[in-house]
């Protein structure tokens, strides 16, 4: 009788089924996340349609350059994650560690840039309920734009923080050889990370570029 794959769990008939379940399970979770962020995007688009000028005026205060740089940072981190998943599949521990570390670095860089943007917005008095001050017309609508901006980007940043924390734990586990026989957790994590990147791919143009 052939030996079962070392990573095969008892409730799966073969490793292929387990691999499929790994993928389906994460996608089921990601479907809930699509709806979670999707509802926020929908609400944002409704109010943008209702108040195009104040929203455009408010949006022009966002730092497009930093936003674009951050988008490039996240796209690069998706590349490093995809390469990391491949390295895990090839059982290349050193390459896996390097790519996971690069992903963490890029994630932290993203959060740093975002934090700097938030600091700039604080200085310009654009934070609703904390120090919002608006010259001219459309102040309530402009504050609504910034409510959406801060809530959506902070929710995204929270997903990034969780991802980085999990990835740090996975780096430690990978260092201990935990993915020598089973790369499925790395693949699963990759799906989550790519999804968070996709959310930003939509956040950037809809918040920063429609003016």
């Amino acid at each position: 009788m052939t030996e079962a794959h070392p990573a095969l769990a008892h409730h799966f008939s073969d490793i292929e089924q387990q691999r499929e379940a790994n993928t389906l399970g994460m996608w089921a979770f990601l479907a809930t996340e699509v709806l979670f962020f999707g509802a926020l995007f929908a609400a944002y688009l409704v109010y943008r349609s209702a108040y195009p000028e104040p929203f455009a005026a408010a949006g022009s205060h966002l730092n497009k350059i930093l936003g674009a740089i951050n988008t490039a940072v996240l796209l690069t981190s998706s590349l490093t994650v995809a390469l990391a998943v491949q390295a895990a599949g090839e059982r290349n521990r050193n390459r896996l560690l390097l790519l996971m570390a690069a992903t963490v670095g890029l994630g932290i860089l993203f959060l740093g840039i975002k934090g700097f943007e938030y600091f700039q917005e604080y200085r310009e008095q654009l934070i609703p309920t904390i120090n919002f001050a608006w010259e001219g017309e459309g102040a309530p609508q402009a504050m609504l734009f910034f409510t959406f901006y801060f809530f959506m980007t902070m929710l995204h940043a929270l997903h990034m923080i969780i991802g980085i924390a999990v990835l740090l734990a996975m780096i430690f586990w990978a260092w201990r050889g935990g993915y020598e026989t089973d790369d499925m957790p790395v693949e699963r994590f990759g799906l989550y990370w790519h999804f968070v990147d996709i959310v930003w791919i939509f956040l950037f143009p809809l918040l920063y570029l429609i003016v």
Binding site: T2, E3, A4, H5, P6, D14, E16, R19, E20, T23, L24, W27, A28, L30, A31, T32, V34, L35, G38, A39, A42, L45, V46, R48, S49, A50, P52, A56, K64, A68, T71, A72, L75, S78, L79, V81, A82, L83, V85, Q86, G89, E90, T181, D183, E187, G190, L191, H194, F195, D197, I198, I201, F202, F204, P205, L206, Y208, L209, I210, V211
Partner: protein, 103 residues
């Protein structure tokens, strides 16, 4: 049955990832340039959304390996977005039917 089934992404050149990455960066440049055209809110949103959807499709098919995945996986991927379409579609119908926004 083999004892150690290799996942589908091993022994494959990473070239496809670099190509998709370059395409994603290109689309990023495109979306930033398009924002300078000042086409107004409606067209601006449409173009930005189209480019964003193209980027998302590239990430989903290639980085997330959906292109090599089973039909069942495709179904799970599609399901999330289909429900999102229902959410947005019925919401738009709701607002349009009240006459709050004109198209």
């Amino acid at each position: 049955m083999t004892t150690d089934t290799q996942p589908s992404q091993s022994h494959r050149s990473p070239r496809i990832y670099y190509i998709v990455y370059a395409a994603l960066l290109g689309l990023l440049v495109l979306t930033v340039l398009a924002s300078f055209l000042n086409l107004g809110t409606t067209w601006g949103v449409l173009i930005a959304l189209t480019i964003a959807i193209a980027k998302a499709i590239l990430v989903i098919l290639y980085f997330m390996h959906v292109r090599e995945s089973s039909r069942t996986t495709w179904l799970f991927v599609a399901a999330g977005f289909i429900w999102l379409a229902v959410l947005i579609g019925l919401m738009i119908v709701d607002y349009l039917s009240r006459g709050w926004f004109t198209v």
